[in-house]
Each structure stands twice: as C-alpha cells, then as structure tokens.
C-alpha cells in the first residue's frame, strides 16, 4: 500500500501567487516622483531644516536641488519597485519595511518638490503630524478594543466629539484641565456603555446604534454650542491647553527631539497607551480572554468566561480612551470647542483600525500617516500657493493607497466582530 502523495504545503500555501498590486503601485509612485517632481520639477534648491533654532545639537540644514533629489529618490523608488517585482515573480511577498521605505522616500520627495526655493521644517511637520494624529490614534485604539471583543463601534466620531466638548466645558468651569480630561473620558465611557448594553443585552444592530449615537452627539453639541457656548464662551468654553512639557535630554535630540519629546501630556499619554493596550491585549490573561470572546464567544463561554461582561468593559474602556482623544482635540491642541470639530476624524479612525489590522502599533503607525497627510495639506498651502489645493487634498488618499498596497495580504478581522452572542 502506498500513501497518497501530498505535495508539501499543498494545504497550507496559497495556490495563487502574491498579487502584482504592490510592485505596480510602487512603480507608479516611483515614476510619479521621477517624472513630475524630478524631470518636470521646479528648479531651485530646497532646504531641509533638521533642527529648530536654539537647539543644543544643531544639525546643519540639508540643502539640495529640488530636481536633483527627486530624480535620486525616484530612481531609488524604481529600484525598490524592481525588487518587489522580482520577489513577486518568485511568488514571494514584498516585505512591509521595503514598502515603508518607498513611502517615506516619496513623502520626502513631495516635500522637496513643494518647497523648492524654500525651507522644509522637518521637525515641525513631524511634530504637528503627531499632534494631529493623537485623536485618531486614541479613537482608533478605542475602536480596536471594542472590535477585538466582537462589538463594532462606529460611534468613535461621537465619542471624540463628546470628549472634545466635555474637556473644554469642564476644564473651563473647574479651571483644571485634568478634570476636563477626566470628564471627557467619563462622558465618552458612558456613551460606550449605552452602545455596549444595547448591543450586548438587547441585541440591537451595532451599526445602527453607532450611527444613532453619532447623529445624537452632533445634534446635542451643536445645540449646546449655539445656545450656550457661543453666548457665554468666556465662562464655559475657554479652557486653554495643557502646557508643553519638554523632556530633558531627549527633547534636545535633533529632528525627533522637538517633534516627539517637546509636547503636551496628551501626546505622552498616547505614547504610553499604545504599548499598554498592546501589552494587555497580547501578553495578559485579560487580553487572551478578550480576544477569545471576539473570535469565538461560545468557546469562551464554555471555559467560564462571561462574554457579555467582557464585551461590556472592553467597549467601555475603549470609549474612555476615545474620550481622551476628544480631549486632545480641544485642551490638547486648539484650546476651545468648535462646532462638529471632530470633522470626520472618527471615521478616519475606523479606517485606521482596519488598515492597522487590529494591532495597536500598526494602528498608531497608520494614524500617523493620516496626521502627516493633514499637516501636509495645511503646510503646502502656505509654502507653495501655486499648487492646486485639490491636488494636495488628494495626498491623504494616495498615501492610503500606498499603505493598503503595502499591507495587502492577509487582513483578518476578529471572527465574531459585529455578531451578537445569544445563549441557548
């Protein structure tokens, strides 16, 4: 008797070769940089300013011809696209870091093209990207915590808005911004409790509750803003912002010092929360149980895990974190509440959760990408007024496209996401 021949890996390896999406997208952007920014680019030198005035370790500015650097970067990106194509031919996937390098090179080239004849304040752009990314990161962390236990939370937008409102109002009234931040977290957590109990106990469709919460919060805050905040702004909507804290030594580092280590407490809290959520999710028993509930609730139930309770508290704590993200909008950045000031960041956070594959670090990186895209839009308007704003507005989506191509492959949501658990 002979054993039937089973080719090795027949049942584990994909039959289909990795898609050509990655090399094609990489090649497209390489040509874009090479031709549009390089050969057809704007003459003049660009000055990449790597340190701020008064830094202890002043790094000399990096001055180069705008056309030259873009031709160089374009060729480098073409090489990467070539490597990617070669890998695809061998049925291998392009590693993520290679795509990231190409993305960074492209971004660097774009900055050089926009600012030809002017200065690129690298650490200012980085720092602003971080500040702008904070609400997205925190909102996405909240969404991630909720989806990991199987509850789809599309109310992030509403939670950010609630957080922003509460932080501003409570911060102003109590004259203590920490109370403001706390109030933002509590209010947003309460909103999450509503979502969680409706979804878990009463099995209402999670998408519908999410939409309703978003609409409800927009309505309430708009009403209060026009009837109360805009009338008595000085008394209730004038909180100011947290102080900028410079961390000794670290903030003196070139480029990354001013960008990352001279910031408000909301930024530092984000730096702590991302690894903390990761650690709890993947290294503790709480996280193991949470993921079990999100993957296979019945199995979790049969080993004595209370599915409803686990879901409730994870959604609620996720809400608190999203609320902090809302606070970062007002008392962590702008300094006052404005009408619908979350402006779709909550929905970007939703996309970021997926782009970041439900992994805290990837989620934070994806959010940074969006933060960068937003600041780019603002800065480019100032530095290169000739460029149509429509084009600059496209940048975030192009960035997303590169990112999605890089992340292409096995994206797998928690298996029980969005499904209510009904016990027999």
């Amino acid at each position: 008797m002979a054993k039937v021949e089973v080719t090795p890996g027949m049942f584990s390896k994909s039959e289909v070769a990795p898609s050509w999406k990655t090399p094609i997208v990489l090649a497209f952007f390489a040509v874009l940089v090479l031709v549009s920014f390089g050969f057809l680019g704007k003459p003049g030198n660009v000055d990449y300013s790597l340190s701020n005035k008064g830094d202890i370790f002043a790094v000399p500015d990096f001055v180069i011809s705008s056309v030259g650097i873009n031709i160089g970067l374009g060729i480098a990106m073409l090489v990467i696209a070539g490597i990617s194509a070669a890998l695809t031919l061998q049925k291998r996937k392009t590693p993520l870091w290679l795509t990231l390098i190409a993305g960074l090179a492209g971004a660097f080239g774009l900055l050089g093209w926009l600012a030809s004849g002017k200065q690129v304040p690298v650490s200012f752009i980085l720092g602003s990207a971080v500040v702008l990314a904070v609400p997205i990161i925190l909102g996405a962390l909240g969404g991630l915590m909720s989806e990991r236990v199987g509850v789809v939370n599309i109310a992030i937008e509403g939670q950010l808005l609630t957080g922003a409102f509460m932080a501003s109002v409570v911060g102003t009234i109590t004259h203590n911004l920490y109370f403001g931040a706390l109030a933002a977290m509590i209010a947003s957590a309460i909103l999450s409790m509503a979502l969680a109990s409706l979804a878990i106990k009463y099995l209402v469709d999670q998408i519908i509750i999410g939409v309703l919460i978003n609409v409800l919060v927009v309505g309430i805050t708009n009403f209060l803003y026009s009837q109360w905040l805009s009338v008595a702004g000085e008394q209730v909507n004038f909180p100011g912002t947290f102080d900028v804290i410079s961390i000794p030594y670290l903030s003196a580092l070139p480029v990354i010092g001013p960008a990352f280590f001279s910031a408000r407490i909301t930024v530092y809290l984000t730096f702590v929360l991302v690894p903390l959520v990761w650690f709890i999710l993947f290294r503790t028993k709480l996280g193991l149980r949470a993921r079990a509930v999100g993957e296979h609730p019945t199995a979790a139930d049969t080993v004595g895990i209370n599915v409803g309770r686990t879901r409730f508290w994870w959604v609620t704590s996720g809400g608190a974190i999203a609320g902090l993200g809302g606070a970062a909008l007002t008392i962590g950045n702008v300094g006052a509440f404005g009408r619908e000031m979350s402006g779709g960041l909550g929905f970007i956070a939703l996309a970021v959760v997926i782009l970041g594959r439900w992994q805290p670090f990837y989620v934070a990186a994806s959010a940074l990408l969006f933060g960068f895209a937003i600041i780019l839009r603002v800065w480019a308007n100032g530095v290169a007024p000739g460029i149509p704003t429509d084009f600059i507005t496209m940048v975030p989506y192009l960035v997303t496209l590169i990112a999605v191509a890089g992340f292409a492959g096995k994206v797998r949501a928690p298996a029980a996401s969005g499904q209510p658990y009904i016990k027999g």
């Binding site: 054993k3 039959e15 028993k285 193991l288 993921r291 296979h296 049969t302 080993v303 797998r412």
Partner: protein, 501 residues
C-alpha cells in the same frame, strides 16, 4: 467521581427536550448515551455543563448536590466536555487554547506561556497524544484538534469527561485511537459519558448504555446486546438496518469528470485533479472524512463553484458543461440534495409549496407567463407531500416548522420530481430520524433502479456500505481509489486516511 442526574427536565417553549431524566455514572465507567438526532442527548449534557439551566431536577457529584450558574462552575466541580463542534479558538495556539479561562500568570501579571506549554506537554506525553503546544489550532487536522479539547478538559482536572458525538469527524482509525484513549482515561478513574448514535461504537467501548428517545430515558442496555435490539430500543420500533437492492443493470456513462481541481475560500486546493465516471443505474458513493473536498466537489458539479482554469472538464451525457450558470447545470439534468438543508436546501420562512417551486420558479409547471400558477402548484404540492410522506398539516406550513426528517423529505421530493439524469445526494440523511433515513435510502435506490446515475456523498461509512455500487474514497482533495462495494470496512478506513489500496 460519581455523577448522578435526578429528574432533569429542560423545556424550550412547548418542546420538552429532557423529561425527568435520571442517570448514574460510577467512577471509571464508560457510559454511552445512545439516541437519535434530536432525542435530547446534547441538551442533557449542556445542562450538566452549565450552559443551560434545568427547569427541574438536580445534579449530584459524589452524592453532593451541585448548582452550576455557568460552565465555569461545572468545570471547577470537575466536569469536562468535548463538544461536537470544537470549542477552540482557531487563531490561538494549542497552549493558549488549553489555558484559556484558567491562565497561569507570572509576577507582573503577564501570561506565563512557559507553564502553559509544560502543562500541554505533560498531558500530551502521558497519553501519547503527540500534540505541539505552539501549533496554531486552525492548522491542525480535526483529529488532533479533538485531542486538544481532551487535553483542555484534563488540564482542569476533569473527573467526569463528556464526549459529544466525538467520532463524527474522525476516520475509522482515529476513532479506534480515541476509543483506546477513552479506555485509558477510564482506567485512570475518569468517568466518561459518551454520546453517540452509532451502534457499532457503543458496542465497542461502553460499559453500560442508556438509551434516550424523545427526551426520556427508555431503558438501559448492555453493550453485548445485538445491534438490531439496540436500534429498536433507540427508535421505538422494529428497524430494518439493511437496504434491499436489486443487482445493478448499468447503462451508458452519464457523468464524466476529468481532472477537476477546485480552490476553496482560502485559495487552497480543495479538490485536486479528480477524475471519475458514473453510469446510468449505479450509485457511486464518495466516502471520506468530512472536509476532504467532498463539499467543493459537489458544488463544482452543480456549477456553484468554478474549477481552476484549464484544470479539466465535466461532461453530462457526453456534452461538456461549461461554467455558465447553476440553472444551465440544473436544466442539463442534475438534481442536488445539499449537505446542509437549512443553509442551501430550503428557505425556512417559505411554505412547503414555495420550497417545492424554488428551482422551477421561472417556467412550467409552476409559472404561467409572469404569474405563479397557484392551482397547479397546489396540485403538485399535494401530490408530492403524499408521495414523499411529508408529515405536515398543509402545504402552506413554513418549511422551518417541520422536523429535520420532514424538511429533508421536502428537499428530496423537489429534486426527484424534476425528472433528471443525475442525482447528487450530499449527506442526505444527516440529522434525520431513522424512519426518514429508511425512506430516503429507499428513494435513492429507486432512482438508481429507474436507470439514473447517482452520486452519494457521505461521511457515514454505514450509509456508504448500505447503498453504494462502487465507492470512491476522497482524502485531501484527491480520490485515493475507486473500489467495489464489497470492500472491507477496514480497507475503506485505511483509504480514508490516505493509504491507497
């Protein structure tokens, strides 16, 4: 540990799933719970395991009354359960699955996976399970997944181990290994409750048998009783375990499949270069353990799936079936009884009559122009209900309200009434009562005798042996061999594990 159930009653609405059930299992005893599908075995065990709350009755362990609010309590009291559908998280490792809910932690509160691995290894070595603690569960074959379930129960010091239909997904060899494991566990003092509807397994391994029918204990039996006696006890009347079959008069080739390969949802080859022929007037059984490509094969024959480009061809009566549409395949003369009637066979909210016209909704006899011909539909429905013995009050009853056996008869009636050349019956008797099984088997044989080609896909070796004229065994998407119906059970078992004849 001694387990005792006293007067357990569990109702779902007006349905009494368990009616005053008493059961005593002594330490080290292997007790079989024998009963048909839907007899209430699984409900009883879910009550024992704390997943359901009993409406009346009590559970005693070593003569002490227990109250279980949830599975956690039952586990803490020493009850372990291996569910029919595994309760494992596919994306977790074996070690993570085993410790879930009972996790060792280190000084800073992080998971101590080292201890978890050691736990798995210790139990795995003790019983010779050969399970890698770091393997992802989704990558393991079902037989190994089942061992992970057993390790999970044992790692929580289960003194009473409940196995719910554990052999449904196993090859005969894996079944033998499982029985060996059960005997060893019993020797070590574990009480085992073994739930099944397969008589042969009961006779092989049980110390004592409790038979359940329609939610009630109808008797106890010794494993030495004859199979027909046990079957009679289980069903409540005389059962004919044999299917009468005339010798076959095969005709020309009806279906010819050449070198077909199919990818599944995960883009892996579920069917891998399969070729076979079916002639008029014969039943070709496709045997094999669940998940070896049978489902995908049936679906590609019906046109629900497409085969890999250029991989081969399917021809019916000499004409090649392109990947046009399912309707094209149906009209070419294929009838299909799907393996999951609730998912693919019926619309449970629709009435029986509406279900009858599902695949003929666009033409005669059910439609007249753009209208439904209600008079004709009612006439046909009445006829089919009578002919196929569907027990229902009227043709207007929603299909979902029928019992499993009657639902299946509705599907069978629809498919067989169309007058086709080829019948594909996929798991035609899964979850069906014995009376309906007999009826459906007779109808399938009648189709063959009427000169149609029949493909019977079944994971139940008993069914395959009872009906088949020839048997093709599938393993990992390939056909290991096509043998005649007289092949021994042991030989088929080996083929189901991939060893060619």
């Amino acid at each position: 540990m001694k387990l005792e159930l006293r007067g357990i009653t569990k109702k779902f609405g007006s349905l009494v799933a368990n009616d005053h059930i008493d059961l005593v299992v002594m330490p080290g005893e292997i007790r079989s719970l024998l009963g048909e599908n839907g007899a209430g075995k699984s409900t009883l065990m879910n009550v024992l395991y704390g997943l359901y709350q009993a409406d009346a009755g009590e559970i005693l362990l070593d003569d002490k009354v227990q109250t279980f609010k949830g599975p956690g309590d039952a586990m803490a009291a020493g009850i372990g359960m291996v569910h029919q559908h595994f309760m494992l998280i596919p994306v977790f490792t074996v070690a993570e699955n085993v410790v879930l809910g009972n996790e060792p932690v280190n000084g800073i509160g992080a998971l101590d996976l080292e201890t978890a691995r050691a736990r798995v290894k210790e139990i795995s070595d003790r019983f010779g399970f050969n399970v890698d603690p770091d393997a992802l569960v989704e990558d393991l074959p079902v037989g190994v997944q089942q061992r992970v379930e057993i390790i999970k129960a044992l790692s929580r010091d289960a003194k009473v181990l409940v196995l719910d239909e554990p052999t449904a997904v196993l090859t005969p060899q894996e079944t033998d290994e499982l029985m060996q494991i059960m005997r060893e566990l019993a020797k070590a003092g574990t009480s085992i409750v073994f739930i099944t509807h397969k008589l042969r397994e009961v006779q092989a391994v049980a110390d004592k048998i409790t038979v359940i029918r329609q939610g009630k204990v109808v008797g106890e039996a010794s494993p030495k009783e004859s199979a027909s006696k046990l079957a009679t006890l289980m069903v409540g009347r005389e059962v004919d375990l044999k299917v009468d079959k005339k010798s076959m008069k095969t005709g020309s080739v009806v279906l010819s499949v050449e070198n077909i390969s199919v990818l599944d949802e995960r883009e892996q080859r579920a069917v891998d270069g399969v070729s076979f022929e079916v002639r008029a007037g014969e039943i070709l059984a496709i045997a094999g353990v669940q998940g070896n490509g049978q489902t995908e094969l049936a679906e590609v024959l019906l046109g629900l799936r497409t085969s890999i480009k250029g991989s081969g061809s399917i021809s019916l009566d000499g004409k090649v079936l392109g990947h046009v549409s399912v309707r094209h395949h149906l009209e070419a003369g294929i009838a299909y009884i799907p393996e999951d009637r609730n998912k693919d066979g019926l619309v449970s909210e629709f009435s029986i009559a509406e279900n009858f016209m599902l695949d003929g909704s666009y033409g005669k006899p059910y439609a007249k122009g753009i209208n439904i011909n209600f008079a004709e539909r009612d006439r046909i429905s009445k006829k089919l209900i009578q002919e196929f013995d569907v027990r229902t009050q009227s043709a207007a009853t929603p299909a979902g309200k029928l019992s499993g056996g009657n639902q299946q008869k509705v599907v069978v009636a629809r498919e067989l009434s169309r007058g086709v050349k080829l019948l594909i019956a996929s798991q035609p008797t899964r979850g069906v009562d014995v009376g309906s099984i007999e009826f459906i088997h007779e109808r399938i044989v009648a189709e063959r005798d009427a000169g149609r080609a029949v493909i019977l896909i079944s994971t139940e070796l008993d069914e395959v042996l009872a009906l088949a004229d020839r048997i093709a065994v599938m393993y990992r998407g390939k056909i290991v061999g096509i043998v005649d119906a007289a092949t021994s059970r042991e030989q088929l078992g080996k083929m189901m594990a991939g060893i060619a004849a």
